[in-house]
Amino acid sequence: MSEMLAHLSLGFGVALTLKNIALCFVGCLVGTLIGVLPGVGPVATIAMLLPITFGLDPVGALIMLAGIYYGAQYGGSTTAILVNIPGEATAVVTTLDGHQMAKQGRAGVALGTAAIGSFVAGCVATVIIAALGAPLTKLALLFGPAEYFSLMVMGLCFAVVLARGSILKAFCMIMLGLLLSTVGTDLETGQERMTFGFPPLSDGVDFAVLAMGVFGFAEVLRNLETPEARDVVKSKIGRLLPDWNDIKQSAAPCLRGTFIGGILGILPGNGAVLGPFASYTIEKKLAKDPSRFGKGAIEGVAGPESANNAGAQTAFIPLLTLGIPPNAVMALMVGAMTIHGIIPGPQVMTKNPDLFWGMIASMWIGNLMLLIINLPLVGVWVKLLQVPYRLMFPAILIFCSIGIYSVNNQPVDVAFTALFGLFGYLLIKLGFEPAPMLLGFVLGKLMEEKLRQALIISRGSFMTFLERPISAGLLLVAVIILVIALLPSMSKKRDEVFTE
């Protein structure tokens, strides 16, 4: 306990310097700004804004990126409530009741409840991360290559099961990501692999190029095709602060949501996505009058929004302690850390304690800032929602182009990104959801390295993955969830959850 307090005070010492507070503020503000724009989710936002952190030191850069992340997440719920467009998967649930509240002239209360619920969830999640960080890191140090490999296999299995749409297609995307990660020079033998003899490819496919092509450009192409019907709320926003009755109604859902979301978020493989759905279902089951749900029930905003934010934050736990990103956004964080010369993993906490604890402390500060920026600025966000898409996407394009160019100062990279944009568009047309590909791509290199190490230690015997108890346990979990997900009765339920 005292150790945790010491760590947190170190963290706050780092996060509370004037520069880092400013970076956190800018990150939250810019993240919300871009996140509010419909059709730009957190993945695209972070990919796009990655370059603006290049000039910073690693601690500052990560604080800012984390700010962008939860800013974008929060901006997504604003769009969900006001325009009925979910910025990303986790905001889908918020549209159900949030937008109804907005239509009834209670948009302000919905936004306020979402902000306060997120803040409460964020505070709890920060404490959970601080409490679990040190023990999990100690556990991670016990992990050998075999355990790491099995853990990543398990994470990828979770990602397959929890992805939207067909399981088979999600599986395809993961494998494609893994295949893409093997392009480039082999680290052990120095041999070039699948590079077409083309020099820029010998370092492998650049992470920023892939992410911006598939999530920046391809998304623009997708959005251009489907002119969204924007149902911007015409009525007044109304007062922002929930009254005593609202607070009484939403306090318990908010705490339950935080708990559910926080636990699910720790799961490797995008467990955070499930949080809002689970919370909504539970609130509906517990309610005295379930028929109010879908017609503007405040519990339907408070619960899922808290779950969403708690999950978004605890998703940092696998990344910070084990170095394994659980979803596409965290995969981007890995990319960002690597660009700044930090290899994510258990050693971060021992080698860069200021970075580790500074980032955790800044999460709490960031949540507070979101509360402070968002409520008074709601009017600005509403104005922003009226920017037509015909102006928005050229702005996205110039941003992405300058960004990609700046990663390596290589004009070729911009053309490469366009190529990956085409690739991403093709994937979308074929009904693939590209997010799992990015995860597979980031985990691929690490998986290959660990597989090789494990097999060298075991002298070429695959049994090592089953003989070591932790590794066998992780693989068992992976098999169990795959089997459960493929059971006919479960796959029907899964379809229901994701279409609801």
């Binding site: 395809c172 251009l224 015909r390 182009s401 911009v414």
Partner: protein
């Protein structure tokens, strides 16, 4: 997903062009990867060679693709929707133009000088803007100039990234 008895009795036929195309696409990509990695040594389990994982992943991709294609004959699914060439050409074309003009290039007889961001920026915005069906020329030109100035101030001065502005005019 599931078919009723009458539908099932009608035998196998293409029930989802999207899934069929997706399956064939995966197989084609896997084929390409196998071709490219064919001369990489596979190695043994004890000493994994550079070719082992690419080949293994490619075979799994091919298998998954075959399953997708096979399922498209058994289950109903989405149809393949048309492409929007307008978006592809203008949006991706704009990015390529940016890449070509920002620092200049030479391909054979074709030479483009280093134009810098003050030219490449508006080009990206205007060319990509043409992809929208409701594009307004005057609006997009003004927007392009404003965005370029904003980006120049932010990336060049506020963030200090080494991006050429207009070397032929300003020398920076």
């Amino acid at each position: 997903m599931s078919l009723n008895k009458i539908e099932a009795a009608r035998g196998w036929r293409v029930r989802s062009t999207q899934d069929l195309a997706a399956g064939l696409f995966m197989i084609a990509l896997a084929g390409l990867a196998l071709l490219l990695s064919s001369d990489l040594p596979t190695g043994t389990l004890r000493q994994i060679g550079p070719g082992m994982l690419p080949k293994a992943f490619a075979w799994i991709c091919a298998g998954l693709g075959a399953m997708l294609a096979f399922n498209s004959l058994r289950y109903n699914g989405e149809k393949l929707a048309g492409w929007s060439w307008r978006g592809v050409i203008f949006v991706l074309g704009a990015a390529v133009v940016f890449g070509l003009t920002i620092r200049g290039f030479e391909i054979g007889p074709l030479k483009v000088p280093q134009l810098g961001m003050l030219v490449s920026g508006p080009l990206v915005v205007i060319i990509s803007g043409l992809a929208a069906e409701d594009v307004k020329i005057k609006e997009i030109v003004i927007f392009a100039i404003a965005m370029t100035i904003g980006c120049a101030l932010m990336f060049k001065y506020a963030l200090g990234l080494p991006i050429p502005l207009a070397p032929w005019l300003l020398g920076i």
